[in-house]
Amino acid sequence: MTEIVSGRIPRHGRRIIGIWLVLTAVAVPLIVLVLGPHLPPGRMTAEAASQRDANVLMTALLVPIALLVVVCFVYSFAVFRQRGEVILDGPPLKGHAGAQLFWIVLTSLIVLALAVWGSYTLIAGSHGAGGGQGPDPVAKPNGYQHALPVQVIGQQWEWTFRYPTYGGLETRDLAIPNHVLVAFHVTSIDVTHSFWAYELGVKADAVPGVDNVAYVHAHKTGFFQIRCAELCGLWHGHMAKKGRVLSSSAFQAWIAAAKTKNAAVMAYLPKYNRVYFPAPLRRAG
């Protein structure tokens, strides 16, 4: 009896691998070619593109792993099923050193490759991938000294933006120039928020008393969605607005218009600063 059964083992293994190969061969091209172009956050900026690539690669890598496990399970359900009411014991297999070692080595290699690749794209490949890096960024893009600084100020429940190179101009809507490296300096004057510019691929917590820097380099003009990604109280869901990537000339025109529009208010604003002393706390109603 054991002879017959053990003679069949390799067949099970080969069948499982076969099914898995077929499914993977179907799934991976579908993921890369069909699903991939829809994965967030798009290709409006270099940083967004790096996140898109990460998402596509990750999906294409993890789906085959999931398929392998699911195929093993489902195959066992179908083939090793005990029908009827009888209770019979299976073969007393307690482990297999080779199989265990193989699994450990395989998963370790995948994990290490993921971590190395993730660190590389984060630091060298995409300069922080649009994430907030704190007051002194470690992953700096070329020419970061000449990046256009744009300050993002979170407060309950509104975003405002300041342009220190344009006299500390403060606006309620955000525009950035195309093909120019922009450094967002995100801060807050009350509780913690998180500045999320979806299509730009930017997310950086707005923390009171902290200047959180995130770089972005836009390739395309158009609108992008701004939201708050850290719960900040009652109207957290309403801290949403549209921002724009404008061509250089349009951006200059926009700045000029914003300056005249806000001229009357500018006199009352505090001087531009990297952080603002948060207002003393008050219990909100």
């Binding site: 450990i104 007051p135 708050c228 990604a229 009652l234 869901g237 219990r283």
Partner: protein, 631 residues
Amino acid sequence: MSATAIAVRPPVWRRVIGFNMLTGLALGISGWFLGGWIGGQMAVGHDYLLGTDQNDVGIFMGYLFAIIGWLVGLGFANYPIGRLLGRSPTLREHETAGWTRYFKMCTDHKVVGIQYLFGVGIFFFIGGLNAMLMRTELLRPVERPWPAGQYLTLVSLHGTMMIMMTSAFILGPFGNYFVPLMIGARRMAFPRIEALTFWLVPAAGLILMSAIAFGGIATGWTGYSPLADEGRAGMDAYVTAFILIAISLTLVGLNLLVTILTMRAPGLTWTRLPIFVWGVLATSVLMVLAAPVLVATMTMVLMDRAANTSFFLASAGGSQYLYQNLFWFFGHPEVYILALPGFGIVLEILPVFARKPLWGYRLAVAGMLGVTLLSFMVWQHHLFVSGMNAGLRPFYMLTTELISIPTGFIFLNAIGTLWRARIRFTVPMLFALAFFFNFLIGGLSGVFLSDVPSDVTTHGSYFVMAHFHYTIMGGLVFAFFGAVYYWLPKMLGVTLNETLAKIHFWMMFVFFNLTFFPLFAAGFLDMPRRVSTYAPHLQVLNDFVSASAFMLGFSMLIFIANLVWSLVFARVPALANPWASRGLEWQLPTPVPTENFERIPVITSGPYEYGVAGAPPVADFTPAALPAAGS
């Protein structure tokens, strides 16, 4: 030995009046008013009151005295006072029999297990009702029918309640009930502490719910300062409840840890220990090390709110990074406090219905211990975009991804155990297998979150929300129901209706996935967490999710119906060992005798020796030589 003492049943009034839950409630409510008054006296005239329209000192003192009243009313002061008066020490556990003992302090681990099962189950149900109300709100992209503040309180109550209650979801009922039975002990190491851990749970749950009366909770379950300092008095409830639960979890962990380390029956070597007990052991280590950090953190919030300190207030020199680090230093191990017991349960169930030894036992143990160790080294993955320590991100990316190696072991164990097995698809087995499917998706989606470029997209979005529901609800809750169907016959002595159970399983499995899988897409499509307003073009998606969520909720009603039907009406007595399991707990009669084992058994073989030719029975119940003391 003391069986004769119960012979005379006390009159009914004697069972209602005395140290029990009713008295506890009465004293607790009186304590609330007394404490409130004392706190008022303390705070009067202090300038901190100027910044607020409410007196946090009074509220905290109210809760403190309410807790003291609750515990005194339940009789937790009797023993220490008795000792002070010079009475001899007793474990008065045989004082009462009958159903009233479930409403009292009781030091029998089997009673505590059932108290936990129903206590935690009720709060889980309330948390689930909150979820239904939330999904009602999300049917439309505007704040209707509940206003924004109410929705936020619902999110916070649901999240906090679920996290608090599911932390003890398996260790509470099944750890307390079955660990002594599985290791051949007559009780837990600290029976009085065991009773305390349970009775802190309803106190915490009720206090948390009292937040509704005090302006709600605006912070979600994570309670980030400075938002928490800004919140109204409902935050005081959140802080107090979390402190209570954290104390309870620490003690649960300590008790189980000591029990497993010191009270195993002779012959129960580490390689014969049931894998569930290993899971409990690993979880206990996490609880003992992580939960006290939460007590400290919450105490700091309490001080910030009531005593004018500023640990977390940037406006007075504090830092919210301190809060986030402290919170997640607890919070990430907490995630594994929720995962590891599930691993233990499913690996315990699998061999029984595959009729094969657990494949790769040592690997499973190594996996659990590996997760335990690594889980303390990953917490800053919650702060990837916070602007703190950006240089450390590759390190935390690496450690987070490393955790998937030991977690992967558990999957290999399952695949190996099913290999050439004789699988029977009983209800516990179905839940255990569903666990693997759900946890696979939950775990792999976690790999996205561990990769910083991906996390920049998904952090704070519904993707995260889908991810942790897959691991907690799809993992822990499915494992919980697996355990319920597997062990309830032993605990309650009745057989559950199998048809209803299968309907429950299939509805829960299908609608769970229909509810939460689309939410990955919602996150990818730019929907942040914790919002009652969302982009109108996501309404179809959200309506679909809500509809499935209601069906998911309905499947829970089927379970409850089954429980009530089987327990109250059908009452089909359970066999002593309906699954033909080799587990030590199944070799005992049903109902389990008060003393569990007449004699401490001698363990002669491992619990998973299915099909092993000539394997001896799992234990010798009438050992010739009396074992050494230690029970």
